[in-house]
């Protein structure tokens, strides 16, 4: 069943992709096949392979139960929030918080994950910034 849904979504994506490809503005100087042709070929391959997957699906994978979906979405949301906060808050504090969160969700106890978060953040800061000289996000606090 998963494969049938996946194939259906793939076909929708292929249709959308080909439609968007036809909307590409042509400039007046162009090579014989222009900027649209290759994307349309790709869209066709995408559509055909999706159709085959829809018609001849594999067995279902073992999907996790709903709480685990929430778990993964939460982790992704935390990472996105992290990416948005880096420029304003700086590297060290958000990194410690996010790695502590991930360690906790991967099964570490709360005190252990706080320590791990701080250790990972400071470890990366020392190795990559102080020793190797890589530029890390520098927020209002300067680190």
């Amino acid at each position: 069943m998963s494969d049938r849904i996946f194939g259906g979504l793939g076909m929708l994506l292929a249709a959308f992709y080909i439609w968007q490809a036809t909307l590409i503005q042509e400039s007046f100087v162009s090579d014989p096949i222009g900027p649209k042709t290759f994307p349309i070929i790709i869209g066709a391959v995408l559509g055909i392979s999706s159709l085959v997957i829809l018609l001849r699906p594999d067995g279902d994978p073992v999907w996790p139960a709903a709480p685990r979906f929430l778990e993964i979405s939460m982790a992704a949301a935390v990472m996105i929030a992290y990416a948005m906060m880096l420029p304003s808050i700086g590297f060290v504090i958000p990194t410690a918080v996010v790695s502590a969160y991930l360690a906790w969700r991967l099964g570490a106890s709360i005190p252990a994950s706080v320590i791990a978060g701080i250790a990972i953040s400071i470890g990366i800061y020392v190795i990559f910034h102080l020793i190797l000289g890589l530029s890390l996000a520098r927020g209002i606090l300067g680190f």
Binding site: P35, P39, P61, I124, L134
Partner: protein, 510 residues
């Protein structure tokens, strides 16, 4: 003996103090990365490329560092395969078949030492093969025009799907997905934006490093989050090691096995699109057919460790031939290496040997040096690397995630890129659940623009006549191989593909 003269020049490049130090660091880090459960050559190198890139290393040293990491991870991967039954990448799957039973019988040390020796022989001779074959291939490659290149890219996608995936439709879909992503951004030839939906961030396209780190490294973190506390949770299992030196008699008895494994592995590596998985599978299968008279394979036969390890490492060397000479990677790891070359502004091509001999021959010399270093590191110090397995994933994975962010932030400093990387991490997780191979996606992202450029160049030359694509015997041959490579595995699936092994879950897709 041009090749030998060039090689000695390469050694002059590689044998500086800085480069030797980088090679050593790379081998050491690589072995650790390979040994860590859940990390393998492709995601290990993927995390490190942005770092090497932002550290501003010049091309040759960066290449030496990263290929040493690659070779090191290939060596290190066998440690987690043998001790924990967790292969770091797909080629290592065959090593678990006999390596893990050996470990359970208390012969882990013997298996580790034997596989170290087999890896060394395999990659040592494969590097010699590279020395002599690469210049020949360049001569052939000069016959390639844009139409032939387009056919060659198609061939690489077709055979890659044919061998490494269990469902051709999914491999084709993965390739289309990757190629489709590569089309995003301003068109290189006419300057019109494509698929950017008015977003200025998308005008430059999606950086392939963002895609690779997201698909390979971040998706691993999601897999571990999903599996925590289930039967897939492999956190704390470790058998005793036992003696670390193989009995001489076993080594002598396996000379034939190593030789066959090396030859078969190298040939499978050189085929564009085939790569290391095929190498280790073919050499194991061959050995089993030839020598398994007492039905000991799969129950801890040392030859079952030696054959795939020599095949796998020989194929890793062989896969560098098409990668360097034609720019067509044969596996996940060579695709990542290609990404590394592109990030360093080196486009692999037949002319690379002439235009950048320092890079190519320095790299080859570094491979030889790295090989000896790895042998020296691995036989006596394997006990140290085994300790690495004790690092619990609950602390390792957060560090992997954060280092991925550091690397991507270092390239562009852009929040948008980091968010896209998280998106690729989720996409990678979903695709892995659905058994869609990730390597064609990466190759599509990497090669899409070149593939299109070659098609359009061919069309410009022929003035829009599509028959030019099959205009020469060479391109007809390539198209035939591509079609055969895609269709034959559907017909003969049983003979071409490794049976789905019991525990590849969480393995790095190669």
């Amino acid at each position: 003996m041009d090749a030998l003269a060039a090689l000695s020049h390469g050694f002059l490049v590689a044998l500086t103090f800085e480069n030797l130090a980088l090679a050593f660091l790379g081998c050491f880090l690589g072995t650790i990365i390979g040994a860590l459960p859940g990390l393998g050559p492709s995601n290990g190198v993927a995390i490190l490329i942005p770092l090497a890139f932002t550290l501003g290393l010049p091309a040759t040293p960066a290449l030496i560092l990263l290929t040493s990491v690659y070779y090191g991870a290939m060596y290190g991967g066998r440690i987690s395969s043998i001790l924990l039954n967790i292969p770091g990448d797909e080629p290592a799957v065959m090593t678990t078949l006999d390596g893990y039973p050996m470990a359970q019988q208390g012969r882990a040390g013997e298996a580790l030492a034997l596989s170290g020796y087999a890896s060394f022989v395999g990659s040592f001779f494969a590097t010699w093969g590279l020395v002599f074959l690469a210049p020949q291939l360049v001569r052939v490659a000069l016959l390639f025009g844009p139409a032939e290149y387009f056919a060659l890219f198609t061939l690489a996608f077709a055979t890659l799907g044919g061998i490494s995936s269990r469902n051709q439709a999914k491999a084709a879909l993965a390739a289309a997905l990757g190629l489709g992503i590569a089309m995003i951004g301003v068109d290189g030839q006419t300057g019109v934006p494509r698929f950017s939906f008015g977003q200025v961030h998308l005008y430059d396209g999606i950086n392939f490093l963002v895609a690779i780190v997201g698909l390979f490294a971040l998706s691993e973190v999601f897999v571990f989050l999903e599996n925590r506390g289930t039967e897939h949770d492999t956190a704390d299992k470790r058998p005793p090691i036992g003696r670390l030196t193989p009995p001489l008699s076993t080594m002598k008895a396996s000379v034939g096995t190593v030789t066959r494994g090396t030859v078969v592995g190298f040939i499978s590596g050189v085929l564009p699109g085939a790569g290391a998985s095929l190498g280790s599978f073919m050499s194991y299968a061959l050995e089993k057919r030839l020598k398994d008279t007492d039905k000991t394979f799969g129950k801890g036969d040392p030859r079952g460790v030696v054959a795939p390890e020599s095949g796998n490492n020989a194929a890793a060397g062989g896969a560098l031939v098409p990668m360097l000479a034609l720019g067509v990677p044969g596996s996940g790891t060579t695709a990542v290496l290609l990404a590394m070359l592109l990030a360093l502004n080196i486009t692999p091509s037949p002319l690379l040997l002439q235009s950048n001999p320092d890079v190519v021959w320095g790299l080859i010399a570094a491979l030889f040096i790295g090989n000896f270093m790895l042998l020296a590191l691995n036989i006596p110090m394997v006990g140290l690397f085994v300790r690495v397995l004790l690092v619990p994933t609950k602390y390792l994975m957060p560090a992997v995630a954060m280092i991925s962010f550091v690397g991507i932030y270092g390239i562009s400093g852009s929040t948008f890129d980091m968010i896209v990387m998280v998106g690729f991490g989720l996409l990678g997780w979903v695709l892995r659940k659905l058994d869609v191979p990730l390597v064609p996606v990466i190759m599509g992202v990497l090669l899409g623009n070149q593939m299109e450029a070659n098609l359009r160049r061919a069309m410009t030359i022929s003035n829009g006549d599509w028959s030019t694509l099959v205009g020469t015997w060479l391109s007809i041959g390539l198209w035939t191989l591509a079609i055969a490579g895609f269709i034959l595995p559907i017909l003969f699936a049983r003979y071409f593909k490794p049976a789905p092994p019991a525990e590849t879950y969480g393995a790095d897709p190669d």
